[in-house]
């Protein structure tokens, strides 16, 4: 579904992503794990056709993300890290905007509205302004909006960051449902404890891919993902390991 080949991205002097290559299979839930500044957002934005890579290529469903941008855009849904909705518009009006853009009308429009408001448990709040929703509800509304055109590939940038544990769990349940319906998902997170939810993991550190594979394979030999990640960072980034500070 997604094929990332030797992708690098530099902003001026800074290289945000260096020589990243990985693949996401159709119908799987892939995770991208790394701390802030590891390059997760840049890589996701490249795949979502938001920015072109400096070098390398991204192929989505057989189409190049740069040369066939409109076609790729049409089959994916991308939810940026920051709440990308209009805080002064109500839940309904936000959803209306997305449906207008995708030209949804008549019976199909009301069917989808019911469906996605329903599963995000937002039906009682349709008249509330998006800015007045709690963090968890905001994320669920954002998800409903990107799902409204029923994309085949869903890209979510740290959707659960700072969200309360209950909403987080609900969010993961929704993602599992999406996957069961045949959707391909690519999700980034800074929470290492969410790693086990993924079919495949890509571990990023300072713009480079440290490891990839199933969660079990990435953890191999280590008690948990955090230890596995620390060990791997230590092997590539000796400087960081030296930065221990003490009284």
């Amino acid at each position: 579904m997604v094929l990332v080949k030797n992708v690098s991205k530099t902003f001026g002097e800074i290289s945000a992503v260096t020589e990243a290559s990985f693949a996401v299979d159709q119908g799987t839930l892939a995770g991208m794990i790394g701390s802030d500044g590891a390059g997760k957002t840049t890589l996701l934005r490249i795949i979502a056709t938001m920015i072109p890579p400096t070098s390398g290529s991204v192929i989505v469903s057989g189409m190049d993300a740069v040369t066939r941008r409109d076609a790729v855009k049409a089959l994916l849904g991308y939810m940026p890290q920051r709440f990308g909705l209009y805080p002064d518009l109500t839940v309904d009006e936000n959803l209306d905007f997305f449906m207008d853009i995708y030209g949804l009308t008549g019976a199909e429009r009301s069917r989808r509205r019911e469906k996605y408001l329903g599963f995000s448990h937002l039906t009682p709040f349709v008249r509330r302004k998006a800015g007045d929703l709690s963090g968890g509800m905001k994320q669920k509304l954002a998800l409903a909006c990107v799902l409204i055109h029923q994309p085949r590939l869903l890209i979510l940038d740290e959707p659960t960051n700072g969200v309360d544990p209950v909403s987080r769990q609900e969010f993961w349940e929704i993602l599992a449902e999406m996957k069961a319906s045949g959707m391909t998902l690519l999700v980034s997170t800074a929470y290492l404890d969410e790693g086990e939810n993924f079919d495949r993991l890509v571990i990023l550190h300072k713009g480079r891919i440290l490891a990839q594979g199933t969660p079990e394979a990435v953890c191999s030999g280590y008690p948990d993902l955090e230890t596995a990640m620390i060990k791997r960072i230590e092997t590539v980034d000796a400087g960081l390991a030296e930065e221990r500070f003490a009284l």
């Binding site: 979502a48 938001m50 855009k73 049409a74 990308g84 909705l85 209009y86 002064d88 207008d100 990107v146």
Partner: protein
């Protein structure tokens, strides 16, 4: 380009507008305030100039002179100080602008047919005002001199001759030389810039600040659709403001547009497009509401006010500044409005102005699309 997508964006923009108190206030309250402020306060006319006269002569002739002065619309003798020092104090205290001293021997010298000077002191703090004052005073004195010359010749038994060269001046287009006839078109141009450019300068910057620009970019929306959707609401609001301003000009100041109304609307539509495009361009370039606001004031509102021939005459500007005025859209729009309000010109007499505005709108549209494409749309 799809009309449905433009509609989708315009509808969303309409919601933002009705939810945002500041924008509404800027759109409707500020124009009213401006009309009142400019219309009443910024009168460029010089009349009823507060005047003080020190009459040392105290004769029927001197009193007659003072009366004539007072009777003219231009001068208003408000004080009769007894000494030059007292008069000076009145000028220093900003109570009067002109001080006239009639010397003790003034009447005697007149009667002896000698030269009879008057001492006149004008407060020159406002050169425009002082210049006008001086001209009016010269006119009053000149008229008196001419009358005296005629009676003198009469007395000598000569045929009264006509004054050899007489400039018979007629002011066209604004017969009463009333500045309000000139100010109302200027206000309309300023209002369009404020409402149009200032409001729209916020709208794309706001998308960046909310983080929603990223959302827009992920949607199948083209740069042109985004541009027209953004501009649509503001285009109509600004047009309504133009009508309100025209109506206010008529009701409050009696400035009536006697020419082709639809030509005025056409010119306004083109000029509004220029203002909105300028605002949106600033917005997409700065990406911050604060910066955009300051840029909009600097690049649109101030030039329209200061360089458009509205407040300061372009003829008197140095060459460099004069060159800049050609790039100020308000120059052309005010020219058209003056043509319509004062000279009753038709389209073919002003088509160059229309053409320049249309070309400006076209260039700005192109720059907008390019900037939006560069921003990832």
């Amino acid at each position: 380009m799809s009309l449905k997508k433009i509609g989708a964006i315009a509808r969303k923009e309409y919601y933002h507008l009705i939810r945002d108190f500041r924008s509404l206030y800027l759109a409707f309250f500020i124009p009213l305030l401006l009309i009142l402020l400019f219309g009443y306060a910024l009168s460029l006319d010089v009349d009823r100039i507060p005047t003080a006269v020190v009459d040392h002569s105290k004769t029927p002739e001197s009193r007659d002179f003072i009366e004539r002065l007072n009777a003219s619309l231009y001068f208003d003798v408000v004080a009769y100080p007894v000494s030059t020092e007292k008069m000076t104090r009145l000028i220093d205290g900003n109570r009067v602008v002109v001080g006239i001293v009639i010397p003790p021997d003034w009447t005697a010298r007149l009667k002896a047919e000698k030269d009879a000077p008057l001492q006149v002191i004008i407060d020159g703090s406002d050169p425009n005002y002082a210049g006008n004052t001086r001209a009016y005073l010269m006119a009053v004195v000149g008229e008196r001199n001419q009358n005296r010359l005629l009676t003198f010749l009469n007395r000598r038994g000569r045929e009264p001759i006509a004054v050899p060269v007489e400039a018979r001046i007629r002011v066209w287009f604004n017969e009463a030389l009333e500045s309000k006839n000139f100010i109302v078109p200027g206000i309309i141009a300023i209002i369009i810039m404020i409402v149009g450019a200032l409001l729209t300068s916020l709208v794309i910057a706001r998308e960046y600040e909310n983080g929603t620009m990223e959302t827009i970019r992920s949607l199948p929306v083209r740069a042109s659709e985004f541009f027209f959707g953004k501009a649509l609401c503001y285009w109509f609001i600004t047009l309504v403001d133009v009508l309100v301003a025209v109506l206010m000009g008529q009701v409050l100041f009696g400035v009536v547009m006697k020419s082709n109304f639809w030509l005025m609307i056409l010119a306004s539509m083109i000029y509004i497009s220029v203002a909105l495009s300028l605002g949106l361009l600033i917005s997409v370039k700065t990406r911050s509401q604060l910066m955009a606001n300051q840029m909009a004031i600097l690049l649109t509102y101030l030039p329209s006010l200061l360089l458009s021939d509205f407040v300061f005459p372009q003829q008197n500007m140095p060459a460099v500044l004069k060159a800049v005025t050609f790039a100020v859209p308000a120059t052309y729009y005010i020219d058209i409005l003056n043509g319509l309000y004062l000279r009753h010109l038709d389209f073919f007499q002003m088509w160059e102005n229309f053409a320049v505005l249309a070309v400006m709108a076209g260039i700005l549209f192109f720059l907008n699309i390019r900037a939006l494409k560069k921003a990832g749309l």
